[in-house]
């Protein structure tokens, strides 16, 4: 027996998709374009389109449809800006490095880190942030971006090297 896929035309299923996907997709587009307003507009437009196409997109295909459609919309209206990243609230108090002496100053280092991330090309930045902030596996990132895992590993390597080049001098060994 083949279990019939839930229909996206059912509002309940649509809502479920939206709640599962809206935040990660919006963040993904944000990491690319750096404008939260633009990212939200893009993703919302895609979800509105999805509702209209609900009969033609199956539930299991919806995720890749949304990522692809958002990506396409993004390509149409690129305006790369710097991403604004925050630190997790709880972090500042307990930075438990074995010997924090080698950091010139934690705050200064973090500002520099954010700058370094912003100086990455969009290709590396999105992979780096999806992996390090969104904690996505390479496999997941490969699905989202449509790249191979090997390409992700490569971009990740480039990103790390570039950040190290920029920040190395701030880290005393």
């Amino acid at each position: 027996m083949i279990k019939k896929e839930p229909s996206i035309c059912e509002e309940e299923n649509y809502n479920q998709l939206f709640r599962n996907l809206y935040e990660p997709v919006t963040k993904y587009i944000y990491y690319k374009c750096g404008s939260l307003q633009q990212a939200e507009d893009i993703v919302q437009n895609v979800f509105i389109k999805l509702w209209k196409l609900c009969a033609t997109v199956t539930f299991s295909k919806a995720k890749s449809y949304i990522y692809t459609a958002c990506n396409n919309l993004f390509l149409n209206e690129v305006a790369h800006q710097k991403v604004v990243l925050k630190h997790q609230q709880s972090v500042l108090e307990h930075t438990d490095y074995e010997s924090p002496d080698f950091l010139i100053e934690v705050d200064e280092f973090r500002v520099q880190l954010k700058n370094a991330i912003n100086s990455l090309s969009v290709k590396e930045r999105e992979v780096f942030l999806l992996s390090r902030i969104e904690k996505k596996t390479y496999k997941e990132i490969a699905e989202i971006t449509g790249l191979t895992v090997k390409a992700i590993e490569r971009r990740m390597s480039i990103a790390l090297k570039a950040i190290k080049e920029l920040l190395g001098k701030h880290i005393k060994i």
């Binding site: 993703v43 925050k86 880190l113 992996s131 590993e153 990740m156 190290k164 920040l167 190395g168």
Partner: protein
């Protein structure tokens, strides 16, 4: 030369824990290892933007549900206006044109086929505005003289029944009494009651119907008297004469005090009220008094 510099996926694999044991141990010995470790751990402490999913969902729902509503309303409006257009076009095509004369007024109407209707005072005739040729009917209220062009199917709808016509001239008076006079050709009256009695009239024949009493007779005049500006009566009750007077003059009679069943023979003119009153009332021995506003005539013995 370190591995991470020569192998372009090395650092990527280090992050995901995919390095082999040997690779990892060698990497951990390099002086850059600590820098990468700090970068990695610090990066993981960063946070992306805060996103309000529920607010976005609400926003989308509003867009989704307002848009179709507008479309639906538009469709309803479109359908409604289409319906209105169809209905009004139908009504328009089926509408009739009516000619009406006021008291004391006459009018000549020429129809599409060249037929002429002379409409007497206080009367109206109407016909369909379109496609009249396929159904040459008119509806008469009051009195009119018809000069009909030869052709089939001309009919006049009256309160008594239908008058059917071939090329002919005739007069219909459909008021308190009904009178059909044929001046030329032939007409047929079909009385619209249960018996559907038919009367065929040729030249100089007339039918008078007064409360279901039918009189067939002949007459001598060549055109209806009213076309000469007079009304002619022969042994007709005074009430009919009074009704006729009211068709030509804007007056009313107070006739409670007299017997209006007495019969009158004579005529009155249509263009002078005083003369008309004298001609009709004096011979009958009826006294009359014209009220101040010239509208009410009070009759007494």
């Amino acid at each position: 030369m370190n591995n991470y510099e020569t192998d372009d996926t090395f650092l990527g694999r280090w992050i995901s824990g995919e390095l082999s044991k040997e690779e990892r141990i060698a990497f951990e010995k390099t002086k850059e290892f600590k820098q990468f470790t700090i970068i990695n751990s610090e990066a993981q402490l960063l946070e992306g933007p805060t996103i309000d999913t529920e607010a976005a969902l609400l926003k989308i729902k509003q867009q989704l549900y307002t848009k179709p509503k507008v479309i639906r309303l538009k469709q309803i409006m479109r359908m409604a206006s289409a319906a209105i257009i169809v209905i009004s076009l139908g009504l328009f095509l089926n509408s009739s044109k009516t000619y009406t004369t006021a008291i004391g007024e006459t009018q000549t109407v020429t129809l599409a086929d060249g037929s002429i209707i002379n409409l007497n005072a206080n009367s109206s005739v109407s016909h369909k505005r379109f496609f009249w040729d396929t159904n040459k009917g008119v509806t008469l209220n009051g009195e009119a003289y018809f000069t009909i062009t030869k052709g089939n199917g001309f009919t006049v709808q009256t309160s008594i029944g239908i008058v059917q016509v071939l090329g002919t001239q005739f007069n219909i008076k459909d008021q308190s009494t009904f009178s059909l006079k044929c001046f030329e050709g032939e007409v047929q009256l079909t009385v619209a009651d249960s018996r559907k009695k038919r009367y065929r009239l040729t030249k100089s024949m007339q039918v008078n119907i007064d409360e279901n009493i039918v009189q067939e007779s002949v007459f001598s005049e060549q055109i209806p008297d009213w076309k000469n500006g007079v009304s002619v009566f022969k042994n007709q009750s005074l009430s009919i004469v009074l009704d006729e007077l009211m068709n030509y003059y804007p007056i009313e009679f107070e006739s409670e005090n007299i017997n209006t069943n007495r019969l009158f023979s004579g005529r009155f003119t249509h263009d002078n009220l005083k003369t008309a009153l004298q001609a009709t009332l004096v011979p009958m021995g009826v006294q009359y008094q014209i009220s101040n506003n010239n509208e009410t005539i009070i009759l007494s013995e």
